[in-house]
Point group: D2
């Protein structure tokens, strides 16, 4: 068993990590932290864990968790800026870091500072950080895994939920060169857990229930991350108009991408490109052509379902990807990245079925 810590275990993504690790065959959760709730049992925050081993774990401070002895792996589920402050120390101690914040996702520190409005104080780590979207970056992940095997700890930037869903929707088309060089339009819908555990007027049941709304139009911070990922897929700069929406469900996300097909590209080429690209992906499945995926069908799992259609009248691809924003969009993808970094079976601890009802 590999000694593992979760730095920031009290928030939604943190406790979701606790849950995944509780049944992971190789990762041993030796420390889980929360500065605000240090000393309390995890089950006192999440009573669904009452009477379970995971629930009886006592939270420690971030500092204590980070300095746990022999720590091989640490998940950072702290807010951006906080991750910058601790990642370097962990790496220096030989601990591989999977950072679920935004701090190491953007290669361009200036873009980070522009979109997040804060300075980046660990820019020296950006070059070594690998973007942890396995379907896009499996080679880089293998490469750092080789380093880990030889004693060099890895720093993996776990993708945001919207970038995961949006990139998985568009990746095969871009990689196969099926799209015109024009802005993609991505409209996404998220469940309320995406807004985090803080109780606010937005997350109040009486605000969120029976409501729909777009937000962050033209300004959402996931935009440059999406563009960076799509550019890597396409091998050229890609522009995206990204509009997220909030809907009344706890967990679940759909991102629907509309993009102009290149001259002469039709349904057959599109279908083939997606089928090929995702044929061997353990966590991505294609819907029958022309049908679209449901977020409920991937709830609580690390899976992504992708559906594609072609609007031949307008010459546009429509591609929709459904994930669980806390699963493939956060915690379980972080476990997938840990598995890859540590050369465990990619699906170790990640086989689960969604609730069917």
């Amino acid at each position: 068993m590999i000694p593992t810590a979760i730095i920031g275990a009290a928030g939604y993504t943190g406790v979701e990590l606790v849950r995944w690790l509780a049944t992971h065959p190789c990762l041993d959760l030796v420390a889980a932290s929360s500065d605000a709730d240090a000393g309390r049992a995890v089950s006192s925050l999440y009573p669904g864990l009452l009477g379970t081993g995971a629930g009886s774990l006592a939270l420690v401070t971030h500092e204590q968790a980070a300095s746990a002895k022999g720590l091989a792996l640490a998940f950072l589920a702290v807010p951006h800026t906080a991750a910058q402050q601790v990642a370097g120390t962990l790496l220096a101690r030989g601990t591989t870091v999977i950072d679920l914040s935004a701090d190491f996702r953007l290669k361009d520190a200036q873009a980070y500072e522009r979109w997040y409005g804060v300075p980046h104080t660990a820019q020296e780590l950006l070059a070594t950080a690998v973007y942890g979207l396995p379907e896009l970056c499996r080679e880089e992940l293998r490469s750092v895994a080789a380093g880990v095997a030889e004693g060099t700890p890895a720093l993996i930037a776990n993708p945001g939920c919207y970038p995961t869903a949006t990139t998985l929707a568009a990746l095969p088309a871009l990689a196969a060169g099926l799209l015109e060089d024009a802005p993609l339009v991505a409209n996404a819908i998220s469940g309320v857990s995406g807004a985090g555990r803080a109780a606010t007027s937005t997350t109040h049941f009486c605000s969120a229930d029976s409501d729909l709304a777009a937000y962050g139009a033209a300004t959402h911070r996931h935009t440059p991350e999406i563009e960076q990922a799509l550019a890597q897929a396409a091998g050229r700069p890609v522009s995206v108009v990204f509009t997220p929406h909030l809907a009344p469900l706890k967990r679940g996300m759909v991102s629907t991408v509309v993009a102009p097909l290149a001259q002469g590209i039709g349904p057959a080429q599109v279908e083939e490109a997606y089928a090929e690209r995702y044929a061997d992906e353990p966590f991505v499945a294609m819907m029958p052509f022309g049908t679209m995926p449901h977020s409920a069908h991937v709830a609580g799992t690390n899976r992504a379902l992708v559906g594609i259609a072609v609007d031949e009248r307008a010459g546009r691809l429509v591609a929709s990807c459904a994930i669980d924003n806390l699963g493939k969009g956060a915690a379980s993808q972080a476990v997938q990245n840990a598995n890859l970094a540590l050369r465990l079976p990619e699906d170790a601890g990640l086989v689960s079925l969604p609730p069917l009802v």
Copy 2:
């Protein structure tokens, strides 16, 4: 009081009409019909009406309702194809018809037959039918109102819910010539009532709750209606890539349009165009620039809220419109059209506030 009938009062839009008419100061509901439930009281289908005048109304057959004496106005809330069969008879009897089905929305009978897969058997009425989106077609509506005043009954095709929300989102930009001539991308999200009263696996609570999904990509029947309305707004053909989604709420709809701005057009011109176009519209309000509307804020009303933003990086307009799919998207807009056709105050019977909690 004006003798009024609802042909098809048992479905969701039909009973929503019953509800609006119950407090309308000028329209007198003299007959409400359902072939399947003739003889039953409305309250036996909708127990929320128990003990109310509207609830005690006994449903009659469509035939009986259509031949009620002195009928000045009839709302058709029957499925498409059924509306074709009765509209002509009503008009011949001097009854003004507000048709909530799709039968008279498309000017082009061939487009109707192509998208709906059935023949149009009342094509002779298409020329006289007016599209009942007041914010787009107020002049035509005034013109047929003049006819009604002189004894010529009107046929008004009440818009679909998606076309209403999508057109209201894009109308000012198109009318002011702010957009490039390129396909618009419209992504919409609807509550489950849009799927109607039929109990199916899609509308089962355990399918719809905690779920999100796109559907009907590239094939939804509202597409040609949206394109027709936008073309009228723009004064040129407009192509739309339309993707609807379903979300877990009863009532509510948001349609978010992304479109390329013409050379040199920026936020200021966009904001001004929307402000001007909707300044005098009694049922459309603009959100502060850059903020997006919530469907809950128009639930149960005839109002539409529109929010706009400009993505200057990509040169795109993002415009989002929120309506109640059964209100401004169906029944209350039909009442607005009736008010216009009969030269009543446009907001007669339509002043209502959404639930604030």
Copy 3:
């Protein structure tokens, strides 16, 4: 129009009052207050009111609202203890007060201090306060209305939501002497708005959605109020075991009462007692015997629906009452009380239909 103020208009019951007053034919809202949000427009807190008269109202301080000139009527929608502090001043100025807090509901100041854990500083007003459940206390309400007509302002304690639903469920059986003298069991279920507008871990969408739980067993503060109301109905002390539950909906409440029938009492006497007692009540309707009411069927209205059944095996009455916790359980009942106190038609401004979909 009667000059009216809402002291405490920013919370859920306060803004619900704003909404009801917006369409009330006789009450003129001249001041609405919130110490925390003074200076802001109501619509800035509740964007569903954007562009409406009610929404453009600027909030003032409690002090300012209470001293508005010529104020004939004030609704107090402030927390308990805050109501005690202002009621006397308003009455002294000749303003009739409808208090929606718990401060004047319990006749026994010691019971108040025991259950609420705070001293009662306006005990001298308790004797004059009338409990505003019209179905129970119509005579007292008429009596103070006579006083108001002669210049003596009234103080009406508007009932809690659980006491309203529970009392309406049991009242006819107790009043007709159909029940044994033994504790009643009342189990109630409430929507989340009952927990108020404060954003807490309990009201977070991700806590409340897809969840059910009892709370406050044997300790809920509404218990003595329920017992006081039932005792008044029965003409003898009544003991109640009250257990509230929370369910994932915004608005709505059901209280189900189980009580032992007196010797020889069967379904016929029960049905007759309820039919008689509620025959002339404008806002209470009986379900067919043996069927139970739905909260959705009274949502947004001042109505209560009551269903009754008899478990003949156990000799027990089962009676269930559905209300909107913010309607008949709070704001619209307060308007009903105002109507009675001011000798307006009892249903003035209160005729509304629930959403049927």
Copy 4:
């Protein structure tokens, strides 16, 4: 691996069994049946299983499943009356049967015929059937397990969801003799999946969402089953007034029992009795005294959480139990019973954590 069949795999409890068996370490699902959907893959009914082994299973007919070779175990998830018809044949072939229908729960065939309104055609099996509530009947279950080990197949009647929750709430108090001999009052609340997979007006999202209602008052078929279980716990006849309610969530159930405490019994004895009785139960956990359990905290698990309080004013016990109606209330409890019958570890395949968000 033990060859296992699910007769009736298309409904909610059936597919939930499919899901549990997919990760069970000892049970091998060799046949899953649905007469209506024979020939289709399970994933065509439940797309959440697309791309999984469980999903690719082809449904066969009931007849085919029941006659699968070497079948050691069969779960019956068919409606009552259908189970009667097949149980005997399976037992005759040596197959142990876990019946999730109501057919073998009531020991008294006349009570069955009275409450279910149909004849019981396999009464000869009633004497051998064991009621599969392990917390109540572990001895009988051990006894039939001994028989299975020696070649005599067992017939286990898996409890209903309401009886499971209600019995677990009251069992320790009754078993310890803490209650007066008077009717218990049980009020329960269920999610919509309890109404099954059939699409009806009751299960339509637009009926169920934002609604609460009691139903089946004094007539629900689970009443005699609850009374039989409680009588077994108490060692004397027990009468129950049972009122179920429906609330807007997919899965989850709470049953709250109120019962008169015997003379001299107070909180200490109650707390002790529950602590003792459930100390060694692997799937039941107690809440801290005075606090009540949440259904979300057991969603998707085989766990039951029980909370207790004492209303000393009225001398009443309040006990509330939360389960997942499809888990401990149906499918996972059936697996627990199979584990016991086959002398597998009681928690084999049943260790799972609820979603924490």
